[in-house]
Every structure is written in C-alpha cells, then in structure tokens.
Amino acid sequence: MSRERTLTPVSAVGTAVPVRRAPARRLRRARDRAYGQRGGPLWTLLAWVLTLLFFAPVAWMALTSFHREADAATNPPTPLAPLTADNYRALFERGIAPYLINSGMASVVSTALVLVLAVPAAYALSIKPVRKWTDVMFFFLSTKFLPAVGALLPIYLIVKQVGLLDNIWALVVLYTAMNLPLALWMMRSFLAEVPREILEAAEVDGAGLIRTLRAVVAPVAMPGIAATSLICIIFSWNEFLFAVNLTAVRAATAPVFLVGFITSEGLFLGKLCAAATLVSLPVLIAGFAAQDKLVQGLSLGAVK
C-alpha cells in the first residue's frame, strides 16, 4: 500500500512539477468523509450479502472437508453434521504428500530463479537504465500475452527430446519463464521508488556498488521482492496445463493429484473438499498476506 509515499494526483501526471500531497492514509480519510455517508445501511447490507454469497462456496468447501462422507452427500444438505478430520488423514494415507512437495519445489525453486534473473534486470531497467529500456519492458510483457497452449506442443516435444518428461525441473524452467515478465514489471515499479537523490548522494560519497545496494536499494526493494515472490509462488502453485501434460507419476504436482484423485474415488465429496482446501490453503495464506500488493502484481505493476 502506498501509505507513506508521495502521491501525485492523476490530473497532474505529466506536468514537470509534481504536487506534494498528504500521505495516502490522510487522503483516504478525507475520501471516507466525502464518501462515507453515501448510501446507508442498505448498501452495507448489500455489500455483506454479496460478500457472503461469493465466500459461501469457499466456506462450504472448508466445512464439507470436515464432514464424514455420509454427511457430506446428503440431500438436503446437513451443515450441522458432526466434524471429523478423517478426510485429511485419508488424503495423507492416499499419498498426497509427494505431490505437495513437488508443487512446493516447483514454485519455490522457480520463484528463486525468477528473483535471481528479475532483480538485476529490473536494476538495469530502472536505477541504471539501458537505452530503449521501455522497449525491453514491452518485449517481456508481450511474452506474457502469448497463450501457453500455443507453445504446448513444441515444449512437450523438446522436453521429451531432452528426457525431462515427468521431471520437476521441466516445470521449474517453464514456471520461471512464465513468471519472469510479471516479476520484472513488478520489481521495476518497486525499484523506481528508490529515491534518486540518495542514490546520487551515495555515489558522491564514494560508496561502492555493494554498499549502495545494501544501504539504499535494499530497504526499498525488500517489501517489493517479498510481494513479487508471493505472487510468483501463487501462479506456479496453481498452474495446471503444463503440469498435467508434462508430468506423470514422479513429478506430478498438487493440481494433477486432484484430477487423478477424483477419477479413482467412490464416495468422495468429503475427501475432495479436504484435498481442495488443503491445496488451496498455501495460496490463500500467501494471497491474504500479499493482498495489498496483489493488485499491483496482477496488473503487471500498472495499478498500485
């Protein structure tokens, strides 16, 4: 959230002299005053009804995951049935753990690779920009717009050729490429916030590159790096198209487990909901933790 940052009103963008404004928190309070009385309890009621409607399937999923199979499949539904953790136990007995480990491995390693590639690149696009840096930015962005399915066949053939089918490293490489443009755009927008004056002052004082990075760039970049990583982890954790087509047994990730699990179960609603809840939980946590930066990541840094 841009609380402590200087705001420039959209109308003033493009003018040479930016207007220094109150911090966003104060701005928001002023907005609340102007807006606060709009509508009344009816609007609040509508907001909450819609929110609960949208949240209901998630709540139902979590609730069903704690019901015995017999209680999960009743009609009419029995939300007040006794709770049990049996479904989760059954999941681990069915061996969900390796799939979760594969997913974790693919998302964490690919995110680490993304950062190794994106952070220096973002530096070369913001703090010490190369010439035509906007063109470079748009090249990266354009790769994000190409649908993965258009490249699925050659990727499948290449991965098969080099013997990486059903190997987690194939997914690591693909997820790195998938998230790199996103991370680059996000990281650039964060690094662009490093105050120029301080950078110059550090240079004048003869601070070396490492010291400048540590003392000036890192404090501003760190929250950005954290948010970027969370968003990359979310996207690779949820990825399905490559996972289902390039893995089989050894390297299959959580979404692949889910799909295979369904076809092999009889009375399964409770276990299905337990599996769905379990695989979604890390992302829900990461997403809630990063919710203020989520918009920025999803809009490629265009909206803060």
């Binding site: 705001l7 959209v10 790199l180 490093v194 399905f240 198209l241 889910l258 769905a276």
Partner: protein, 318 residues
C-alpha cells in the same frame, strides 16, 4: 494501492546519451541473463510451432512427415470442431469478462464506502480468486452442481420441503446448461480480480472533486456517471484486457467441469488444441490451431499493450 503507476518524480532517470561501448555493456550486463532466458524459453517454441504447423505430422503414422504447406490452416478454418471451438472461446471469454466486470464494479463501489468490517469483507472477497483453479472447478462440479448431492439442488430441495412439498425439482446444472455452468464458475473466480483493480481505481479518485460535486448539489448517481466512470475508464479498460488475456486461455475449468462436452458444447480453443495433440496426435493441425490462437491473442494484446503503455509513459516521461 491508491495510485495509477506513479512513483516519486525524482525517478525520471536520464539515460546518458554518450556512453562508451564498455559502459553500455556494463549497464546491459544485469539485464542479459533474463533477456536470453526469456528469448530461449518463449520465442523458440513459437518458431517451432510455426514450423510444425506446416508439416503433415501425426505420430500414429510414423515416418510419414511431409510438408503440408498451408493445408493445416485450411483444415483449421474449415473444420467444424475447430470452428465451434472458436465460437465457444468467444462466447466463454466475452461472457466471463463482461459479467465479472459488472459484478466487480458493483462490489468495488460497495467496498469503496466506509462500513463495519470493510477490511474483512475485502479479504473474504479475494478468496475465490485464490482457490486453486482446478480445485475450484472440482468444487463447482461435484459439490455444488451435482444433481443428487450438490449444494444447489440441496438448497432448492430444502426450500421446497420447508413449504411442505415432498421433494424439490432436480436441475442437472452441467448437462442442462453446460456453458452457463462453466461461465458461472469462472465468473466466481474472476470477479475478485476485476473488483481489486477497480477498487484501486476508485480509491485513486481525488476526494476533492467528489466533495466539490456534492457542494454543487450533484446527486450520487450523477457524480458516479459523470465523474467516477470517466475516471475509471483506464482501469475498466485494463481489467477487460487483462481479464480477456487470462480467460482466453481457460483450460482448467473446461477440462475439469465438462471435458468440453456435451459433444463440443463447451470445447474452447485451448481444450480443442489439447485434444488434437494428445488424443488425435495430429501435431500439424494442433500447431496450426496454436498459431491461430496466438494471432488472436496478439490482436487483443496490441490493445492491451497500448493501454498499459499509456499508463506507463506517464511515469516514464516524468
């Protein structure tokens, strides 16, 4: 999260125009690994797709891999399955994007007011977007839509019984409304995305303007129609375009909820390409269809890039 691509003005970094070759390469060095990696992993496969699309290649007929010229493209544009896949893709994408945009706008406007538990409501609303897409699709298919033990028919049944009827009507949501079922599940997932971007847009609106309009006696609706909507335009465009790009690629929901059926009623292009590739093993045709999807996306993306770059140049020029 209240501003549109703005950072402190001091960042308008001048790029020195006269740098020596060595200095230029030192500047470029940190960028190169990312650039080379991206070119190899994303551009090479597309070139390969182009090449394969010109081949007559089915792995069920080994050794027979002739040059097909544009025959695969002829097939793509005349095949009934692919034509209905194109139509389904358009219907699916347009309805998901429009409905979730409108719902997202409504929610954003509702959440842009102060009310008890606003923060909690926002957090709860993001949840559908964060549930793993495959998990969400399975949840909708089995736990909500299922005619015998799904929640929807269960609730209908419970209401009917409440009024003394022995049994409520049974609706087989997926068989009766396959496209509606897929669209609804996707709208549920994408509305929070739209809501987040539009809410950020609303919160970037200056309160002074609203207050001034109020002073002048403008009604809530007039303010919304003539001040808020124009202000939101960029944000609306951005959410439509990003939404389109993501929803165009929908695979998980179709794969899971309907397997493209019944018949080809919900088969969209990504799913059809998948079938061509891994069920019919027609590699040449799959590649040609892939090229068509890419070209379609490029058309959408050109507009998207223009919107993003108009937001971006404001920052770059400062």
């Amino acid at each position: 999260m209240a501003t549109m691509t703005q950072s402190p003005p001091a960042v308008a970094v001048p790029v020195p125009s006269r740098l020596g070759a060595r200095a230029r390469w030192i500047r470029r060095a940190p960028l190169l690994p990312a650039l080379v990696f991206t070119i190899i992993v994303t551009q090479v496969p597309f070139v390969a797709t182009l090449v394969i699309s010109s081949l007559d290649w089915n792995i069920l007929r080994p050794g027979d891999r002739g040059f097909a010229g544009l025959r695969n493209y002829g097939f793509v544009f005349t095949d009934n399955r692919l034509r209905s896949a194109v139509a389904n893709t358009v219907v699916l994408t347009v309805s998901v994007v429009l409905v979730s945009l409108l719902l997202g706008l409504l929610l954003a406007v509702l959440l842009d007011r102060r009310f008890p538990g606003r923060g909690l409501a926002r957090t709860l609303l993001i949840a559908p977007f964060l549930v793993m897409p495959v998990a969400a699709a399975l949840l909708w298919k089995h736990s909500l839509y299922n005619p015998t033990y799904g929640l929807f028919d269960g609730i209908i049944n419970a209401i009917w019984r409440l009024f003394g009827a022995p049994q409520g009507p049974t609706v087989d949501w997926i068989s009766d409304h396959p496209m509606g079922a897929v669209v609804t599940a996707l709208v549920w997932q994408w509305t929070p995305f739209m809501m987040l971007i539009l809410l950020a847009g609303l919160q970037a609106q200056s309160p002074d303007t609203i207050e001034a309009a109020k002073m002048d006696g403008a009604s809530g609706w007039t303010t919304f129609r003539y001040l808020t909507i124009p202000h939101l335009r960029q944000y609306l465009e951005l959410s439509v375009l990003l939404g389109t790009i993501y929803v165009l690629q929908t695979f998980d929901a179709v794969f899971t909820i309907t397997q493209g059926g019944p018949g080809t009623a919900t088969t969209n292009l990504p799913y059809e390409i998948y079938l061509t590739m891994f069920r019919k093993y027609e590699y040449g045709q799959a590649a040609a269809a892939g090229v068509v999807v890419v070209i379609g996306s490029i058309v959408v993306a050109t507009f998207a890039l223009r919107v993003v770059s108009s937001l971006f140049s404001k920052e770059a020029n400062r």
